[in-house]
Symmetry: D2
Subunit: 488 residues, 4 copies
């Protein structure tokens, strides 16, 4: 790929998304130009920030890739040392601070890295050719600086049954036809973060599979503009405020996340883009490795938490109570919780292990611990921020009221804070806190923190698997003075 | 007042609100017909439920009032025994269950009841005539079955300064002119729950006042259609969904809360409607008694919590995991927290004391404990409900997508749950949970739970005042064997 | 029974315990004179406080009993109205404040009250004579002002199996012989609070029984000095400090709790003292009613909590930081949690229902909620008290060091606090906090708070039974707009 | 120093402590032979484990020291890279697992490392010679493999006043005489972990000092057998059980912690052992750096937590409920909390920075976050362990009862668990859990976790200093759309 085709910055990236004939649906309508759509655009801006950061802070957001012998955007990079894993976390926190939302490019990064070792191990066992194909695909992505969405979550239907136990076999994405030149896939991927603004998606199994689930054990890369794909965007709290034309009420006018349901309607994928086909025993390792990366990728939420702490401190100060001891104490508590999340992510990354394929993977138990804290602490941060915001959070009039000759002067008179603090300033911070705790980015900061990369119970299962009770019981037996051979 | 003028049910009530020339502003526009406005109407429906319940369950929602010698809506009733206070709580929980939102009629009830004893005591000390005036006003309200909004919260400006310390004296509502026939008032009341759908508002001071704050020590009843009043409605998360024309995406299509900023622009109030004027030393008792009632009125949130628990149980069951032990355990935890709130409210009401004026008032410390739990537990209930809702909460397409020929069949295929659970059913419960935890009624269930009737720190101050440390230190001294007279 | 035989006060009570030939074992030795034993005596003192309170505050600690037509100690009283149930809670909190420990007389009170209705209902169904026998027994107890221990918990052996599934059938107390004049019982009762200082014990089944468990479905009253009983006292943290001869290091030198394992070795009980025999279907109601009373009896812990709050406030003040905002805030938090427990207990008692037998029984769900909070909040109170105590809690030298000429002056010099605060004062409060959070009374304040009246999971099961999910789902369905007949 | 003098293992170490004429007081008596004293010995055993581990796992517990060109015990090592800091944490967790208590050697290690950079910086500013002296002292310690106690905490008297504000100036350790050959010191150090079993102590200031506090700005190394030192041991919960002669009731018969009050009675220290004298402005950096090391050293508690988790799992299994879902879930929660602590410590260590002196120091904010979690989570782990232990924790008879012919067979019959689980096994685990949560090692696991290395409020102050509110407010301003120069 020539440099001319390489995406160099945010503007290039936006251009790369234009003119694609995607089947995108939002609020019951087909969206012809997603880049220009006011509700979708903020999610594209967030992704664009991953390109801009690589320009502005290349040490942080790019890496030297031995695969193509060049610096690449870190989101396309396969880790070559523990420090690479750590730097992902630093970059994620920074982007959380810059966008205040989910910037959507981690899933692909984490998918590459987990597939890198899994394909290597499938090949070792089965003599297959997946790893080489994957490496070729990664080179293409690195050279083009492309966005790849990792698509893992199937619709699942009845949670009490597995893929082959559903009334409709399509409720987990599967192979419906095996052809000489490739596979035909059918199904859907749900809750897909950042796909309309991607160039490729990689579909992967979502759960441990049994031998009878062979048709569901497939990994494949599909170009986003494949005509067999449809994208039905999810509604987000307060989504239509982005289309109202103002800039205050949205809270964060520039940035937002994006989630869609992807329909895969008998899409053909050539062998060169197939990275698993039927090796059911590798579904569980793939899921576990992906989640080891991805659960600690939620360190991004500490960047969003930084914004929330800043907004809470700002509104308290504007209200004239920035020095109150209980206000300071709440900001300390928010910081403590936020850094507790960060610490677990960083510990997981620092404690990375090297896989035989050569890539580095975070510490699984600590990564789960990180994510499990993410399912709890942002809610308490949100509660504390709402506390510091004051009642105006619930009752703030609209920016149109502020602009209106009838009501604007009244708001300017009555919504002031401490001397010098204007109504507009207070409204802007209150709206940002609303955005992060109830509004459009609460979807990312709260609900996605719960369910993304696996719901809380998924982490508990994984923690249970790794809690090494036998070793701990042995420690206790020794100190309790119970001798070996004693059955207790 | 003839029976013809008495509001007998919800339909009467709606009719009573029509044709009033209120200055109501919403989203930058003057609203000519609030009853017919799709965003405002749900909040009127919620208030109407207080009339309907009185018809359907009169034992619960009416009481016999000695003031007029007739049964009256309990929301207009002055408590005559502890059981009356307890029944308020039972009624509040029931209405929370029926509406899933704030039904907005408690503030007036709590204002009456606290003013009842405070005016009595002012008269005792100062020889004033406030109590008789108040009783006359209550009779008018009871006979008409009217809605009265209690308006306490001033805009406050710089929280570091009091009424007389603000750059603009109007930041706390005040007397700007004393005339032979009454007072002229100026200022605003913020965060006003349910005022556009009220018939009267009663303004009251919001904080402890000092002698120099005399002009701010005023209590007065003002008809809502006084031409000097303006109402600027607050935006709520997802408010415009109520105007989209569907019924699923709103989550709770029929019911919502309402908060507005009331501007009081040199409104004249005749003496007969003045219940305090300058008795600054009674501002603190009024606030404390009002909050004793109102902090335990937040038992209503346990009714909303019941709806949330029900919705969480329903969606888990539709997903096919209703029997999972962790799901059951989360429902138990939600119930436990919800009932802990309820218990504290009920204990406060059962432990009511009789004021010399004859009315009964809840136990102050326990009422504060109730409200303080309300500032915490609904957030955990919300988190657990979002956990049980699953990722669809963040990504659910719109009802228009479900109705669209292009996408409807895809959603019906891919968003099913356990056998028999349709996409629409799942969408409806997910939207209801969104409504209660992120959307329009999250404003009431979460933010209002934090700040209504006083922010968390206000309860901590009140708990501190009543924690009787000296008595507790004496108990400890005795058991520690420290003798009296020993200075420790 | 003549008045001469009635126990009138604490001194009488102590005398009533002397000269009994009980088989009491402690620390591997038979204890001949339990009343005089320095480790056992504090637990007898605590029980004696229930007699003293009846003298000092008769309105609180006595009641008029229609059974004998006289005032009786409230601990022997069968509730005749909701207020009686509420007054139990008030008395329990007061005794917790006075003793700082478990005063051990509630189990019998709660056993009587639950048996009162259950025996009535067995008689209704089976034509038995249990209720009359029980009433006669209660009269005897009331006339003599006796202490009755309610003994419910069987040793249980394998928790994965029931009574008839154990390798050793004696692991649940059972009937081993049916004679014409009565029954012979064998087994043990574990974790028995206050039995050595009782006059009678009433044994009861501990779990739901099935038809095959008939021999285990027995309720009987046994005099404590029956020669077939043995009592093996449990060790408590720091128990031997009570025998060291000083008064500081014990923390609370006068009062403590008591727990023992009771062995029932083929004890004969005449029919007149048998209140259930084989009616297995009534075991579950008995357990549920007993725990409804007893779980809310844990309100006593709020009295102990008051002592702990007082001690924490005192030590902080002696340290010179009583005014620090974080210290005040921690005391507020302790109070808030303590009152939250109290509120749930009081709500359960106020919301009592009348059983057909005529006695009043607390609200089951709220009683469970009360106890469930007891399994959590005292731990946080303990943590906060230890925080306020400062590091001296971990490192305080002994009172003998204070008395020693070699070290006493050094401690008096270096362990002072704020001006006027002596080393001894600080040591006394630190030891009291140690007593309540790590030492002898931590057994009652923490471990018993967890496991007494059922471990946390037992409350969760009971809450689950009463959480009325169907009704709550119906509320949610209605607001979500799902029509009846729609299967979701 | 010849190898003959070097302490090579635990036995050598014990020998090194014998025959010293220390003034040690315990329970009011002078202790002539601390090594042989049954209450003191377990704390010496714990320290000995630090020698044994160096023999058994040299990679973990030794390091190559450039200061003497040899491998040294890691506890005497000055960090030369971030990995050295990380390895301290790994070693600490391992020793926590092996001893189930505080092994007391970290304070000296952390004192060395913080003094290493601080002395370097004092010398840079003032041209003093402290760093060379310190290095010489460290060489002596490394060559001899000696134990050094870092003594920081002064008695403090009135917490509302600083050193020069106390009524008695000795309440903070100070210089009372400056001589040509050195300094004379007077005062005390409180809460001193592991001093009787040390060879040297290093005294250091405990708080930020002002210019007028010059006499209190002193750092000095003093041999433990200096005749001017006295040691008054603190009592610990259940301490005398170690002297009862058995091995079950102590819970952990071999290992315990140790805390004492050290009296420094006009001790002369030659200049060569003085590392700070009057440079008040360096007191705060010394405290901050020491606490940066030491707050993350509390990772040791995760090793103790591992033992507690193991004991809880073991007793639940013996009780026959090891497979119950709520039991598994509680073990998962314990693990999650334990690993959250570990993660923050490890993150702090991995994120170490290099000081100009050449040593590496952990990330200050993350170290504080680690310790702050240590002040919370062990309490919840303890609560959960007590939950899993069952009621026997509160009522377990003594080991003498088990050994007694009268009661032993009864206990063996009635205290069995699931088939094969004997009474003794259950008693041993219950006692270990008691030891860790109420007994002797609860002092270390709970109280020391609260107060060691600074009480919770100390961490909050440090977190407040580092929370970078301005930067976070700027992030929020940017996303809220507030332009630079706008004063809000």
């Amino acid at each position: 790929m020539s440099d001319a085709q390489r995406i160099s910055n945010g503007a290039d990236y936006l251009e790369s998304l234009r003119g694609r004939d995607l089947k995108v649906y939002l609020l019951g309508e087909r969206v012809e130009h997603p880049v220009e759509h006011p509700i979708i655009r903020p999610s594209i801006n967030a992704m664009a920030a991953t390109y801009e950061l690589a320009v502005e802070e290349p040490e942080l957001a790019t890496a030297w890739s031995p695969l193509i012998g060049d610096r690449v955007n870190r989101f396309t990079h396969v880790t070559t040392c523990a420090e690479d894993v750590v730097l992902q976390n630093r970059m994620q926190r920074r982007l959380g601070q810059l966008t205040g939302t989910c910037f959507q490019r981690c899933v692909g990064m984490d998918a590459f890295n987990s597939l890198y070792s899994v394909t290597h191990e499938i090949d070792q066992r089965h003599g297959t050719d997946y790893h080489r194909r994957l490496v070729e695909f990664i080179r293409l992505v690195q050279r083009g600086n492309l966005v790849v969405g990792g698509a893992m979550t199937d619709p699942k239907g009845d949670r009490g049954a597995g893929p082959s136990g559903q009334q409709d076999p399509d409720l987990y994405l599967r192979v419906v036809e095996r052809r000489a030149d490739g596979l035909v896939l059918r199904g859907a991927k749900a809750h897909q973060t950042g796909c309309i603004n991607s160039h490729w998606i990689v579909v992967m199994p979502t759960i441990r599979l049994r031998p009878e689930d062979r048709d569901w054990a497939v990994v494949a890369a599909i170009p986003v503009d494949d005509p067999g794909l449809s994208f039905i965007c999810g509604r987000q709290s307060c989504d239509t405020r982005s289309a109202e034309g103002g800039e205050i009420d949205a809270g964060n006018a520039r940035f937002a996340g994006q989630e869609a349901l992807i329909i895969v309607d008998d899409v053909f994928v050539p062998w060169e883009r197939i990275f698993m086909d039927g090796e059911t025993e590798f579904a569980a390792p793939l899921v576990e490795r992906f989640t080891a990366y991805h659960r600690r990728s939620y360190v991004c939420k500490t960047g969003v938490g930084d914004v929330l702490i800043g907004a809470a401190a700002a509104i308290a100060e504007l209200n004239g109570c920035g020095r109150a001891s209980h206000v300071r104490d709440k900001l300390v508590e928010m910081t403590h919780l936020n850094e507790t999340i960060y610490a677990a992510g960083m510990a997981a990354s620092h404690e990375s292990i090297r896989r035989p394929a050569g890539n580095w993977e975070p510490h699984d138990l600590l990564a789960n611990v990180c994510k499990h804290n993410v399912t709890r602490f942002p809610y308490e941060l949100a509660r504390l921020a709402q506390d510091l915001a004051g009642g105006l959070l619930a009752t703030c009039p609209s920016e149109r009221d502020l602009a209106s000759p009838a009501t604007g002067p009244l708001l300017e008179k009555y919504l002031v804070g401490r001397p010098g603090a204007t109504a507009e300033q207070r409204m802007r911070f209150v709206r940002l806190i609303e955005n992060l705790t109830l509004g459009r980015n609460a979807v990312g900061y709260l609900v996605e923190s719960l369910h993304g990369a696996g719901s809380p119970q998924a982490q508990r299962i994984q923690i249970a698997r790794q809690m090494e009770l036998e070793a701990k019981v042995a420690m206790a037996r020794r100190l309790a003075g119970i001798r070996d051979g004693d059955g207790g």
